[in-house]
């Protein structure tokens, strides 16, 4: 099937449009079936994907504005493939566990449109197309946070929108400059990212362009000091909004880092390793401490999610195959684990309409099933071996260890701090006596909740024990990316730092 990517992108959107016709009572089933078909399509993409070929596959190209070099240009490689699968998977799981009754039709249609933009971002190979999907993803999310959120929902929604919008406009200027430089070099207009990769720029251009792209992407990640929109967005968003936001939307930023500035500006990226690493470290340690101080369960999860995003950025800027492949894998595990945690918090919120830890205690006795899953996911979030997060976190940190030992050790405290706040959350809410009267008769997980959550648990453990089927295609593409950057780098420092293969095995 040649056009599977186009189908993947536009199927949810068309389904969303048709969804206006479906009656309100059946819309949930409709949404789940559409998401299931989309997920199966993405699985098909995975199985027909050739894991040994590092370049772009399933490429589609259709000129949109030929005079200006803008085209409809899609493709996946090992880096984007699994994030696409993650997006469709999380959307499906989120829809299954959806507990919202109010205006459910609008919610499901927005989710389907959001799914289109998410898949679109990850498969676009044209900068303008990437930008289009990137910006479009804000609109349904604005609606989801703003319409179904908590008390401050409108403030949170607007803050979310404006932050990202402002940042990405700066990135747009960077893209225009890049296109202009490409035009200068070749005489042709092109916004194709793969073409831009081939451009070798002088150092001062690289640094300014790197900064322009980095601002746009960092706000989405969100890097310290641009992270302030995220706690609001998470705090106010409904469960499904938080799940998608944490699991997929934040990945747009880190995925963008791997796809855009790194291969485009290898020298500037190496030059910027330390500033970026310091920001990531602040992000890791500071937000982990903030997480410990929270009273609200959801805020704990939100801040822990920011903290882990810091490790992902750090791994990306290790500039070697371990680090980058590890960070791509960590994006996936972060998606699964933080998605699951937000869903778990949503479960208890649906029952008690509060997320304050002080309201709970002894839940393990009342809801044993729920407590088991929460326990597994808390461990996964901490980075326990044999869970998915361990693989990603370990590889990211191992990669960065080659850049700086001290910084890696500092970043390693994230695991300890993570254990501190996560376990204390678990202790406060699940152990001890049942204090509150209301908590005595809480219902344990119902069918759809346990179905959604157990799936996530299975994946966490499966890919924690045996990550190979996912890690290998990622590795293939990342290795070719790194050796490409190595070849392209113009400064000596960059050539030294970017090592295609770091440790040679004896047997070879």
């Amino acid at each position: 099937m040649d056009h599977i990517l186009s189908v993947l992108v536009f199927f949810p959107a068309i389904a969303g449009l048709l969804g206006f016709v479906v009656s309100k009572e059946s819309i949930r089933a409709y949404g789940i079936s559409v998401a299931a078909i989309e997920f199966l399509l993405s699985l098909w993409l995975w199985f027909s994907f050739d894991g040994n070929y590092p370049g772009m596959q399933f490429v589609e190209m259709l000129p949109l504005i030929p005079a200006f070099g803008i085209s409809y240009y899609l493709g996946v490689d090992g880096i984007s493939l699994f994030i696409v699968v993650l997006s469709t998977f999380i959307t499906l799981i989120g829809l299954i566990a959806l507990s919202i009754e109010k205006d459910i039709k609008n919610m499901i249609i927005s989710l389907l449109f959001l799914e289109m933009t998410m898949v679109g971002v990850f498969v676009s190979l044209d900068a303008i197309l990437f930008y289009v999907f990137w910006e479009l993803s804000l609109v349904p999310m604005l609606y989801i946070i703003g319409a179904w959120g908590g008390e401050l929902r409108i403030y949170a929604a607007i803050k979310f929108f404006l932050y990202t919008f402002a940042g990405s406009l700066i990135m747009l200027v960077g893209m225009l400059v890049m296109a202009y430089l490409y035009h200068q070099a070749t005489g042709v207009w092109s916004f194709a990212i793969t073409e831009w990769h081939r451009l070798i720029l002088p150092m001062n251009y690289q640094i300014w362009l790197f900064i322009a792209f980095f601002i746009g992407l960092a706000i989405k990640v969100p890097m310290f000091p641009f992270h302030t929109w995220l706690p609001y967005a998470h705090g106010q968003a409904p469960t499904i909004g938080s799940v998608i936001l944490a699991a997929v939307l934040l990945k747009m930023g880190t995925y963008g880092l791997v796809r855009l500035p790194l291969p485009m500006f290898p020298d500037a990226s190496v030059y910027m390793i330390y500033p970026v690493a310091v920001l990531s470290l602040i992000m890791i340690i500071y937000t982990a401490m903030v997480a410990y101080a929270q009273k609200d369960m959801k805020q704990v999860v939100a801040y822990s999610s920011i903290s882990h995003m810091g490790v992902i950025v750090l791994g990306t800027f290790a500039m070697n195959p371990e680090g980058i492949a590890g960070s791509v894998f960590f994006m996936l595990s972060h998606g699964v684990v933080s998605g699951a945690l937000f869903m778990l918090v949503g479960v208890i919120y649906d029952r008690r309409h509060t997320k304050l830890m002080s309201e709970f205690g002894g839940l393990a006795k009342v809801m044993p099933h729920y407590a088991t899953i929460m326990g597994i996911m808390v461990m996964a979030s901490v980075g326990l071996p044999l869970t998915m997060s361990f693989v990603g976190e370990f590889l990211s940190l191992a990669g960065f260890y080659q850049i700086s030992h001290t910084m890696t050790i500092l970043a390693g405290t994230s695991i300890i701090l993570g254990a501190v706040y996560m376990l204390s959350l678990y202790k406060k809410s699940f152990f001890g006596e049942v204090v509150h009267e209301k908590n005595k008769n809480l219902k344990d997980l119902d069918g759809k909740e346990s179905m959604a959550l157990w799936t996530l648990v299975l994946i966490t453990v499966w890919l924690g024990v045996y990550p190979k089927p996912v890690l290998e295609p990622i590795n293939t593409s990342v290795e070719s990316l790194v050796s490409f950057m190595h070849k392209k780098a113009i400064t000596k420092e960059a050539r030294e730092v970017i090592k295609p293969t770091v440790i040679k095995r004896e047997a070879e």
Binding site: L64, I65, P66, A67, F68, N106, I128, Y131, V132, E135, L136, L138, V139, L142, Y143, G146, A147, R153, I154, A157, I158, F161, L162, F165, A166, L169, I170, L172, V173, L176, V177, A179, Y180, H183
Partner: protein, 495 residues
């Protein structure tokens, strides 16, 4: 005794006048019809006007680029044809907005339609000449007709708006006359191309006097284009005029003004010896930013849109300041896309126009009016949201492509700071456009039933809005052919 001047008909090249003559004769025809038979329905006049404009458009499209006529005061170059196409297309979209389901008394007068056609002819003269005097005549013809059209809306505020516009317009006309006089005093000519030649020949010797003339010109065109600080009339006039006419005013007089500004300033900008570029740079940045900031605090959607269109005008003036072919082409692309989106947005306000002030004693369209619209009128809310997102520059809707081209033109001419300012301004503007979306989608409806929003809607209005929506959403497919068309015309006239 004076020598008798013999002029042959061929040298007059009356074909260059044909488009304006069509409009004028059509307007006179409408008046004559009214003389013969009274009390004909407005639908007749609307359709007649559309047909006349259609013929006019045909004549414009039939003209060949690069000819002069009528004692050489008419200049039919690419800019003239391109801007006339935009003017006529906007007029053809505007005039059916008269077919409301509510009765508004201005449309019962055939004079309304006659004046409208006179105004169109005036704008056509304005863009199809490089003679300062003919430009002036065209400008005044169009403006006088427009003042009357505003006043015909027949509300207290409309009179206020018309008088305000008239006084400001008169002042601008005075400035224009002074500027033209100084140019004439310097060069002995009122033809812009000769002025450029003479000034270049003596190497801009009388710099100070020239700058005074330029300042007068900037002031007068600034009034017409509502550049800050000459913008103060705009929101009040838009508020007083009917929403449809306000939308029209935000598009058509401006494109005529842009063309004149391009003709007047371009040679000065390219000469590199005068400070025109710097003055314009400052004016552009201030216009964009200040208008955006004021728009943030507006309580009325129409006033917000008024300030936003000031800001858009500033954005587009930047293209004139940059002055490359790419920038000038981008200007036209932007304005065509803006035409559909902005006219659509104002038409949505027009649809929701109510005779009584239900929501607010002062404003017709306060934000509260739209709260919870998604629950009452989902389609209307989505359409309005699309227009707002497009105005904010969210891709892939129409105005994003306009912004993309203008910002790219800025980047390509090494105005990276300007491009960044444009980007930041787009981000600021997103806030006030979002505010309307927030009211429509995220707030609960005020207590009224849904019919109230669509009081003024009729099939023709819905058709026009639908047309604008389609162009707004699928603009990306039209950008490439449009840009080729525009660039060929702009290049043909050497800008």
């Amino acid at each position: 005794m004076l020598e008798p001047i013999s002029v042959s008909m061929e040298s007059l090249n009356l074909g260059t006048l044909a488009p304006m003559l069509v409009a004028i004769v059509g307007a006179l025809g409408i008046l004559v019809i009214d003389l013969i038979k009274k009390d004909l329905d407005k639908t007749l006049y609307v359709m007649l006007s559309v047909l006349i404009l259609f013929v006019d458009l045909g004549v414009v499209l039939g003209q060949t680029v690069g000819q002069r006529g009528f004692f050489d005061v008419m200049l039919i170059d690419g800019l003239a044809i391109l801007s006339q196409i935009i003017i006529l297309a906007a007029s053809m979209l505007f005039i059916p907005l008269a077919l409301t389901s509510k009765r508004f008394h201005e449309y019962s007068y055939p004079e309304f339609f006659a004046l409208f056609l006179f105004m169109v002819a005036g704008f056509q003269f304005m863009v199809a000449s490089d003679n300062l005097i003919l430009i002036f005549v065209g400008l005044e013809t169009a403006s006088l007709a427009l003042y009357t059209l505003i006043a015909l809306h027949n509300r207290e505020k409309s009179f206020e708006a018309a008088v305000k516009y008239f006084v400001m317009g008169a002042l601008a006309a005075g400035f224009y006359a002074m500027g033209a006089m100084i140019f004439y005093a310097l060069t002995g000519s009122v033809e812009l191309y000769k002025i450029a030649e003479v000034l270049a020949a003596d190497n801009f010797a009388n710099m100070t006097i020239l700058l005074v003339g330029v300042v007068f010109m900037i002031a007068s065109l600034g009034f017409k284009l509502s550049m800050v600080p000459f913008h103060t009339w705009t929101p009040d006039v838009y508020e007083g005029a009917s929403a449809a006419l306000a939308g029209y005013m935000s598009v058509v007089p401006k494109i005529a003004g842009f063309v004149v500004a391009m003709r007047v300033f371009e040679f000065l900008i390219h000469s590199d010896v005068v400070w025109v570029r710097d003055i314009l740079y400052a004016a552009v940045v201030i216009t964009m930013t200040l208008a955006n900031i004021i728009a943030l605090v507006q309580k009325d959607v129409k006033r917000m849109l008024a300030f936003s269109s000031i800001s858009h005008a500033g954005f587009v003036m930047a293209a004139i300041m940059i002055g490359t072919t790419q920038a000038n082409s981008a200007l036209f692309l932007y304005w065509i896309l803006f035409l559909f989106t902005n006219l659509g947005a104002f038409a949505m306000l027009w649809v929701s126009r109510h005779k009584a002030s239900i929501w607010h004693e002062r404003f017709d369209h306060p934000y509260e009016k739209f709260s919870g619209m998604i629950k009452i009128m989902p389609v209307g809310a989505v359409v309005m949201a699309l227009f707002m997102l497009s105005l904010a520059g969210v891709p892939p809707f129409s105005l994003f492509w306009g912004k993309l081209y203008i910002m790219s033109a800025a980047v390509n001419s090494d105005y990276i700071v300007l491009a960044l300012i444009m980007a930041i301004n787009s981000a600021i503007s997103a806030y006030y456009y979002l505010k309307l979306i927030v009211y429509m989608f995220l707030k609960d409806p005020a207590e009224n039933d849904g019919t109230v929003y669509m009081k003024n809607a009729s099939k023709p209005l819905q058709t026009i809005i639908g047309f604008s929506v389609v162009l707004t959403v699928f603009a990306v497919l039209a950008v490439n052919p449009m840009m080729e068309f525009i660039t060929s015309y702009v290049q043909a006239s050497g800008f």
